[in-house]
């Protein structure tokens, strides 16, 4: 095959990769915050009694979950301007990822909401709390604890999905890797290092989530 590994060129560009990774993490963080807000609203609509809210929420989740995220990314960035909605690359991508992950987080939160015993809500009502106070003081804190394990894998998927920003030339990790690949031809080294960075970051995220889980575990 005649290919010998030589990481020197990749190490010279390592700063670029790290910068890309940092941007990937930032994209994921902002998308997570917006996506969690979307997911929470959807989840309450999904478990609520009113069909007026439930139907549109179900439609949102079904449509988004059955679309490839790349189509959504390209649609937001290239087609929405035709309707007068013009966003820069990063805003466009973050918004798409938030809308996309919102559908998945809605399912995660929905399961979490269903696992909060009804009696606890009644106990809240009985001491005179309003439904909104019950949501913020009782239901959401317990729901979050219940969903932490599945939230962890959704978070990791969301982080990996930031790689798709490369398709609209957002300079995150995958985009930088491809650039270095084309410039240096140290093909195997670049992708090995890039993959290692992703794998390591996923492992760190998973460990962080486990730490949060332990921290929030109810005393027994």
């Amino acid at each position: 095959m005649g290919y010998t590994l030589n990481f020197a060129a990749v190490w010279r560009s390592f700063d670029l990769l790290l910068g890309g990774l940092l941007l990937s993490l930032q994209l994921a963080a902002v998308a997570l915050v917006i996506g969690a807000a979307i997911g929470l609203v959807l989840a309450f609509a999904l478990v609520g009694g009113s069909a007026v809210l439930r139907r549109p929420a179900q439609l949102y989740v079904t449509v988004i979950r059955n679309l490839p995220i790349l189509v959504l990314i390209l649609f937001t960035y290239f087609a929405l301007p035709q309707l007068g909605v013009r966003l820069d690359k990063i805003a466009s991508f973050v918004l798409t990822l938030a809308v996309y992950s919102g559908a998945y987080l809605a399912e995660v939160f929905r399961a979490g909401l269903l696992s909060v015993p009804r009696g606890l809500k009644e106990a809240g009502l009985a001491i005179g709390l309003t439904p909104m106070q019950i949501r913020t003081s009782i239901v959401i804190p317990l729901m979050v604890r219940n969903v932490l394990p599945s939230l962890s894998s959704t978070l990791i998927s969301l982080f990996k999905d930031t790689s798709l920003a490369a398709a609209i030339a957002v300079p995150e990790l995958t985009f930088e890797a491809r650039k270095i690949n084309v410039e240096t031809f140290r093909v195997i080294e670049v992708w090995m290092v890039t993959s290692a960075l992703y794998v390591a970051t996923c492992a760190v995220l998973a460990a962080l989530m486990r730490a949060v889980e332990r921290r929030l575990a109810l005393p027994k």
């Binding site: 009696g119 606890l120 106990a123 009502l125 001491i127 005179g128 003081s137 804190p141």
Partner: protein, 256 residues
Amino acid sequence: MTKPLLEIQGLRKQYGAVEVLKGVDCTMRQGEVIAIIGSSGSGKTTMLRCINMLEEFQGGRILIDGDAIGYDEIAGARRRKGEKEIARQRALTGMAFQQFNLFPHMSAAQNVMLGLVKVKKMGRDEARALAEGWLDRVGLAARADHYPGQLSGGQQQRVAIARAIAMNPRLMLFDEVTSALDPELVGEVLQVIKALAAEGMSMLLVTHEMRFAYEVASRVIFMNKGVIGEEGDPKEMFVRPQTERLVEFLKSSSFQ
């Protein structure tokens, strides 16, 4: 004769086509301790839950201090009150549940404080002091910072009672509070309720503990198939039941 604390007039409740309360009338004075007994499905728990609007009801009225609970009647039309107003009315009554329903992510003290801070808008320090006071009263001063998962069933139920009483309700509702407890833990909870009764707290208790009803209640209501089957002084009723139904019920229950 003073104004009654609680008035229930023609209370009707149905789940779909099934009518569980078929017109219940009942009046309760300040300081009374009323035990509600009856077989399962007789509507006793449902009636209790209607009083603080944990159940919607379709007919009749419930008044606390003359104040209509849950619904407004304007020109003959019945309309559910707003959530804020219903929340305010729920705070007039305290409730303890069969399954305790303590908030598992809060310590005993935090459970008691939640309503004081969020509903009564009390400062945290004041609420904490009050919570500790009530936990002391139910014998759990040393457990204030324990979480529900670290407490026995009996201790959890006592915290739940402290949580309800701390809100200074006009009326306490107890819904089979000892049914989920191991037999050896029942006594400590009944002791707490007895002490409250002795202090003049107005209470409605749905219970299976006939001996307790006999000892503590000033009046007993026997619910049967969605209506009040019989009511009166327990010393009288348990000894000389007037209806066939009550005779059967007492025979099948633990009271001898």
